[in-house]
């Protein structure tokens, strides 16, 4: 919290620049939810005024609009500035970059200066924007992105970009320009943090239940599950570092599931099991939950935690890092359709991988798959935690500036 001269506490502000290609009813719902879930941050949604329809579509977010002015110029001074800004840059073996690019590819003395008329909020700590990509973004979106980035940079406000269109391409200039990059799928995360790209320290990967809202192909499954994963984590006390596996238990396969839970116990301390059960799946005097308890009590004790959920509520799958079942079933089908990794541990069918589903026959193969799920989970940071980290940095920056240290995210 910042303190104003009047001594009042004021919330740190984040500008979230929304563009036409990102605004859909789903993202509006998600951002509305997110804003409610982050009461300590003043989240201001800003949309360029040229997109009136988008402003209307996002009205539940009470967005503010802003103009972007453009000013073309062509002078030798701009040519010189371009040259100076990359003066020492050379290809391997010595070819100078400015001599290669400035006149032709970089248009000599021509510039198109962009000035966004954004509010000057003294509590502004960070700006969030989608990142344009070489194949798929339009000139207007790029212009807004660049203008806002320049605006923020001039004010030393960190700019965090997020993935809307895929990042796992060979073109990585724009992610490298930003203070932080939020990815929405593991492929992009792995690519950007690889040695080949080298952006290791400033890339986050969102959990699936958040990242899907950043896709132009988000489905109702995720909309219906909005908020559920946070509640489950809170209710069940699942820390961020624990991987959640969904087990679609079936009383007809009690022994197979007992064997599965036993096998998973090897990595139990890193796992929370969400076991789906049917309220009507009573066998004799035992409910479904009692059956699981009775058969696997000792094995379940090896896990960080476990919980039961209703198998008739597929939205629960949204909480899971992966589904692990002893046979393909209704829930595994829903999971795989919504890109949730699914592992079928069944020694009686052929092993193989189809889309998001992998069938394994042995405990060893199962363990390899689970270790991958755990590894993937380790890459995840929730959006709220990204904000916390960024604000922590920016708040420290204020302290560091007092001592003459420059802020670096």
């Amino acid at each position: 919290m910042q303190t104003t001269s009047a001594g009042q506490n004021r919330k740190p502000t984040i500008y979230w620049i929304l563009q036409k290609n990102h605004v859909s009813p789903f993202i509006v719902d998600f951002l509305n939810f997110f804003r409610t879930a982050a009461p300590n941050v003043n989240l201001r949604f800003l949309i360029p005024s040229l997109w009136e329809e988008t402003i209307e579509l996002a009205k539940d977010l009470t967005p503010e609009s802003f103009d972007v002015r453009t000013l073309p110029e062509n002078t030798q001074e701009w040519y010189d500035r371009k040259r100076e800004s990359i003066k020492g840059l050379k290809f391997k073996e010595g070819l100078s970059a400015w001599r290669t690019f400035v006149l032709d590819d970089f248009h000599g003395g021509n510039v198109n200066l962009l000035a966004p008329e954004l509010p000057n909020d003294p509590t502004l700590q960070c700006m969030l924007m989608q990142i344009p990509v070489p194949l798929g973004s339009y000139a207007n979106e790029e212009g807004v992105f660049h203008a806002c980035m320049q605006w923020a940079r001039a004010r030393k406000v960190p700019v965090i970009g997020y993935e809307l269109l895929p990042f796992d391409t060979k073109w990585t200039l724009i992610p490298s320009l930003l203070d932080g990059v939020i990815t929405t799928n593991e492929r992009s995360y792995d690519w950007l943090t690889s040695n080949a790209v080298g952006l290791k320290n400033k890339v986050w990967l969102l959990p699936r239940y958040e990242s899907h809202f950043f896709s132009s192909a988000a489905t109702y499954f995720w909309r219906n599950a909005l908020g559920l994963p946070y509640n489950t984590q809170y209710k069940e006390g699942i820390p961020n570092h624990i991987t959640v596996l969904h087990i679609p238990h079936n009383v007809a396969m009690s022994h197979e599931y007992k064997t599965l839970i036993k096998a998973l116990g090897k990595r139990g301390s890193q796992l929370h099991l969400m076991i789906s059960i049917g309220k009507d799946q009573v066998r004799g005097t035992h409910t479904h939950q009692e059956t699981v308890d009775l058969l696997s009590r000792q094995d379940l004790a090896q896990f960080h935690s476990y919980s039961f959920c209703d198998l008739n509520k597929p939205a629960n799958l949204a909480c899971a890092d992966a589904v692990v079942a002893c046979s393909s079933c209704h829930l595994s089908d829903i999971a795989t359709l919504n890109s949730i990794p699914t592992v079928i541990f069944d020694p009686d069918v052929s092993k193989g991988r189809y889309g998001h589903t992998t069938t394994v026959n042995t405990r060893e193969e199962l363990d390899v798959m689970i270790s991958r799920v755990i590894k993937s989970h380790g890459k995840i940071t929730k959006l709220g935690d990204v904000f916390s980290q960024v604000l922590d940095f920016t708040m420290n920056r204020a302290k560091k500036q007092e001592t003459g240290n420059e802020f670096r995210l």
């Binding site: 840059l89 070819l95 290669t100 590819d105 073109w171």
Partner: protein
């Protein structure tokens, strides 16, 4: 078939059609002479393959020369560029405001891949020579750089009429061996900013020459007029530049010509203009004004349209203006409300009328002959300056290409065996001085030699009389005493033959060669002798040469950013500390001293080296010694008494820059770095010198 280029492989980088048109006339001739031509294209947002396909040229794409094994190299280059550019964008908004960032990114990756591709391509195809229209875009630059690295000569031409500001031509002549431009005006424009003039040769425009012939043979004017049913009309052709003019400005012209039934208005859009933009612009013209105007974009050849017209009109200075003049059309440059983008001005040269659209419409409504207002002499002079000649350009380029290839394969021996052994009574030094018809300077040089050559052993002076000597010189010569030999030299004008002849008549153990009007200072010969003692393993010695105002002319030769030789610390004060260091240099100039035997071993100065003979000698010595043979001795100081311009012939340039293409690499920056001298210090020191000079 002329087989002069049999088995020669020639690589040509092409991009857009307007590039290709200048190159293909040359390639056609080379191909007819037996050469194999390989057209190569690069990756661009606008496909360069389309040009090759439309022109019916066999081509290769540079990406086809990048394999999976090259991925690490490509990635490494991309990362270097990406991180450097990202830093640049963060430092200053300039580069980021150039283009969409995603386009910049695609450019960087493509460039990283092309950079490897051009290398692989040259290594695989091993061409004898490369061509590109220019090296101002990344493809021309990379190809030229890679070719130079491999010692393959590269020729560049001229893209169009250079109407833009001079700074936009920085690097026009950097890695290319020679740059063959249309005319002296372009040569001067490029030199005026930063280009090495000795590597720019005016040859004419390869394309327009052919067009003029074709238009004449095909009787295009009559054929087109008949075809378009415009036989009786006075045709006015308005040629738009890539930026469309403000429509409102042109309306008075459209309106005026609407009311003039004898005149037909034809408008031609620039080929680079976006087709959709052109269409939109056209649609904004009220129907009542546009109905009789003929519009063309790419449908008709601009030259055919020029040929059929009676008057050509420009909305901005452009190449088409010069072409219209070459084809023989009167020219008008419109005064429009938009600010001038280009400093070029046809009007100033009196080859175009400067009229508003309204004024033009009014003049066309009367019977005024507009061409009468444009003097034919001015036009002829203008064309001569811009184009050298409207014919023969392609043949001149072919001849230069031949000369370059011959120079590389058979540079010719520099064979000049001297009398050996040295006779017992030989002087210690033989000083060879070329004599020019400037009596007072000649006398000053002789007086200085006489006054300042003491305590260094015996010496003889050999005066090479290059031209017919005037009576004044003759009088001086008659009055001379001492060990002086006159060496009459009546051969070609080059200094080289004279110096070699001087050496031939010499008897000394060590030879000293002066360039023109070089006058020694106190103890120069003694200091030179001491240098021989101190650096016994060095075969060649150079001197500090200054102006009469104590500015440095020569303190060792380095290679500048354009890969042309220049003196280190030129124009600075003669006592500039870094210029006072004894050290080896790749080349020395203006003055050279060596043992008689070494001169003989290298065969003397090369007959084709001309003005470059001292530097050429050093480079040849480096090859023999496998190190930098030339040693700079600042204590040996001489003054160049006047800074008259020394003409460099085309052949001298072809010889020197073809032969040493591979070894002339920028070294000026690294010298300053070694000396810990910043650019700021240099600029400041030069400014101080300039101020001092003004204060004299």
């Amino acid at each position: 078939m002329n087989s002069g280029f049999k088995n020669k492989i020639i690589v040509v980088y092409i991009a857009l059609a307007h590039h290709t048109r200048f190159l293909t006339p040359v390639m056609k001739r080379l191909e007819q002479s037996g050469a194999r031509i390989i057209y190569i294209i690069g990756q661009g947002e606008r496909s360069q393959e389309i040009t090759a396909i439309e022109k019916g040229l066999d081509y290769v794409h540079v990406f086809d020369y990048v394999g999976h094994d090259d991925r690490d190299d490509v990635d490494e280059n991309y990362r270097i560029l990406r991180d450097g550019l990202a830093n640049g964008i963060k430092r200053d908004i300039a580069i980021g405001s150039t283009n969409a960032l995603t386009v910049l990114d695609k450019t960087l990756y493509a460039a990283a891949k092309e950079y490897i591709g051009f290398k692989n391509f040259l290594e695989k195809e091993r061409p004898d020579i490369c061509f590109a229209l220019h090296e101002l875009n990344r493809w021309g630059k990379m190809l030229a750089f890679r070719a130079k690295r491999m010692g393959i000569p590269m020729l560049t031409l001229q893209e169009g009429l250079y109407v833009a500001s001079n700074y936009l031509f920085i690097g026009h002549v950097q890695y290319s061996t020679l740059n063959l431009v249309w005319g002296r005006k372009t040569q001067q424009k490029l030199i005026g900013y930063e280009a090495p003039g000795e590597r720019i040769i005016p040859v004419g425009n390869t394309h327009i020459a052919q067009e003029i012939i074709t238009l004449g043979k095909a009787n295009t004017r009559s054929v087109m007029r008949r075809e378009m049913n415009l036989d009786e009309k006075n045709i006015v052709l308005v040629m738009f530049s890539s930026a469309l003019p403000p429509l409102e400005d042109l309306k008075p012209l459209f309106k005026g010509l609407q009311e003039n039934p004898n005149t037909q208005l034809v408008c031609k859009f620039h080929p680079v203009t976006d087709g959709l933009l052109a269409k939109k612009w056209k649609e904004q013209i009220p129907k009542s004004l546009s109905q009789d105007i003929l519009f063309f974009h790419g449908e008709k050849s601009t030259y055919a349209l020029m040929a059929m017209s009676d008057l050509c009109v420009l909305t901005e200075p452009s190449t088409t203006g010069l072409e219209a003049l070459a084809i023989g059309k009167p020219l008008v440059q419109l005064k429009l409300s938009t600010p001038d983008r280009y400093p070029y001005d046809f009007v100033k040269d009196k080859v175009a009328l400067h009229l508003t659209p309204e004024e033009l419409a009014e003049k066309l409504s009367g019977s005024e002959d507009l061409s009468a207002a444009l003097p034919a002499e001015a036009r002829d002079q203008f064309i001569k300056e811009e184009l050298i000649d409207t014919t023969g350009a392609a043949d001149r380029i072919v001849a230069i290409t031949r000369n370059i290839l011959d120079t590389i394969s058979h540079p010719g021996p520099a064979s000049f065996p001297l009398k050996d052994p040295v006779p017992p009574d030989a002087p210690d030094w033989s000083i060879v001085i070329p004599v020019y018809d400037t009596p007072e300077l000649f006398l000053a040089v002789l007086e200085a030699v006489s006054a300042f050559s003491e305590n260094a052993g015996t010496y003889e002076v050999l005066l090479v009389l290059q031209e017919e000597v005037s009576q004044q010189i003759r009088t001086i010569l008659d009055a001379l005493e001492g060990d002086i030999t006159l060496v009459p030299h009546t051969g070609p004008g080059s200094i080289v033959q004279g110096l070699n002849k001087g050496a031939e008549h010499s008897r000394g153990k060590r030879l000293v060669f002066f360039n023109r009007h070089i006058s020694p200072a106190d103890n120069w010969l003694k200091n030179l002798g001491n240098a021989y003692e101190r650096h016994a393993n060095r075969p060649l010695f150079g001197a500090r040469i200054i102006t009469p105002h104590q500015n440095i002319i020569h303190a060792g030769m380095v290679v500048d950013a354009n890969n042309s030789p220049v003196s280190a610390y030129a124009h600075l004060d003669e006592k500039f500390p870094s210029a006072l260091k004894e050290r080896p240099f790749q080349m020395l100039d203006h003055f050279l001293s060596m043992d008689r035997s070494f001169f003989s071993e290298l065969g003397g100065f090369h007959s084709r080296a001309g003005r470059f003979c001292f530097m050429d000698f050093c480079l040849r010595a480096n090859e023999v010694k496998e190190e930098q043979a030339g040693f700079y001795i600042p204590d040996v100081k001489l003054t160049r008494l006047i800074s008259d311009k020394i003409n460099i012939t085309q052949d001298e340039s072809i010889y020197f820059f073809s032969k040493w293409h591979r070894v002339l690499w920028e070294s000026e920056g690294s010298l300053y770095e070694t000396d810990n001298v910043s650019q700021l210090q240099l600029d400041s020191a030069r400014m101080t010198r300039a101020m001092n000079m003004l204060g004299r």
